[in-house]
Symmetry: C2
Subunit: 293 residues, 2 copies
Amino acid sequence: MAGSGSDGGSGLGSRGGLGALLRVPVGERVDLAALSTSATPGGPAGKAAGVAAAARMAEPLAALQERLYAAGTAGDRRRLLLVLQGMDTSGKGGTVKHVIGPFNPSGCRVKAFKAPTAEEREHPFLWRVEQALPQPGEIGIFDRSHYEDVLIARVHGLAPRSVLDGRYAEINRFEQSLVDDGVTLVKVFLHIGYEEQRDRLLERLDNPEKHWKFNPGDIEERAAWPAYREAYELALERCSTDAAPWYVVPADRKWYRNWAVATLLREHLEAIDPQYPKGDFDVEECRAHLLAT
Amino acid sequence: MAGSGSDGGSGLGSRGGLGALLRVPVGERVDLAALSTSATPGGPAGKAAGVAAAARMAEPLAALQERLYAAGTAGDRRRLLLVLQGMDTSGKGGTVKHVIGPFNPSGCRVKAFKAPTAEEREHPFLWRVEQALPQPGEIGIFDRSHYEDVLIARVHGLAPRSVLDGRYAEINRFEQSLVDDGVTLVKVFLHIGYEEQRDRLLERLDNPEKHWKFNPGDIEERAAWPAYREAYELALERCSTDAAPWYVVPADRKWYRNWAVATLLREHLEAIDPQYPKGDFDVEECRAHLLAT
């Protein structure tokens, strides 16, 4: 998938990198069936190289996060929000575990969105998302997100069609307001194949220690695969904007998925280029004062 | 510091382990000056051995956390809350970073408490703590906590003495209610020495990339060291209960601190002994159903 050429909100589109390769061009149709789920665009040559490359990113990622956090303590409002979406078993949880590993947990805000609670259902659909946003200097990670309100909600008709149709523009306005407030959005669709999902569900069935992750309802959801694909295509088409583009990450290969999401994070953090704040105190005076204690 | 012999809320006191060694006996006076900050009670022989032992704990800790989280998805309300307190530079942040490393971030809820906001000041002091509690199956980590309301609040007279004096019993009732609701509290005081604090503050001054962590006000707070020590002694004495004991971890040596907190977490998670829930579905039927898709 080629970059849109726009320099967009993230400032990455025209600069190349993995972002340009995986980015959903603004305003174009998306045909997920035509996008490979097992390809490794821009990636290392194979699993061993991919795992090694991801490991080498741990230190620079941690350093970038520390600078972002440090800048946040001095009034810089910028922050990053990683949004992970994908079919059941696409590896959202696994991505959180692997990609967030290098970061200092104190500066991360992870939120897994489940079916809305009674309280959440009483509020507009963006309300619960607003409660979970990263604060300045933080890295937020959403495992599912407000997109569920145009995905499962569309597939199962949880709201009237006219309401559903209005949500895309609402989401775009909301995300623009986040970007205006200093949030860099990295929206990632983990793209797995139909066969791969079956294998992963079977794996859960085969291992009693994974039964807690399995729900017979997952099989029924699987029957709605074409409807979900269509709902994803609409969401990616309508909500990949210059300010907040979507990235499609082929996710059948876990090593590539982990490497790709880490690389996207790295590219966006480098574009933010956070700086350690300068202390507004006299170092020598403080040192003397301290040595006298 | 010997265990109280009570089998207490954590069920660990009478079983030995590091918990029994570091536990503040219920109802006894605490003299922090008499407790070494550089000792390594119950610990490995030295730094290399300590780092290696901590690394070996990563896998069992991750496995225990996954079981706790899995049990939480099936109605088990149990969870763990690590409370970290200590003087400035005692390593609360570093402990979070190192000890939480092995865990899946999705199941962790880290909260660093700062000076209360205007909104927080309008509520009872436990209010903001209640908002940040771990949910069933989660591991919560507090970097500072409700104890600040009997520490800095006492040292700086932020509330009338009678109010301050009433807070210890309030805290004990609150913590008992948490324990009754399935929370295992692990309250750790990171005990550093006066000289060690000076060295760590100087280190921050010497490195421009650490200036953001330095505040000239830290030197003034350091002048209140004896008042803080006394406030800590009172908090440890009055709030080390059978239900929620305090542990004093000598923290001048970072490798020991990391090893000790990881070990305390491991002992408490093993005492919880969370179990993977059994699936309430027919595995063979699901497999057949799935293979037909």
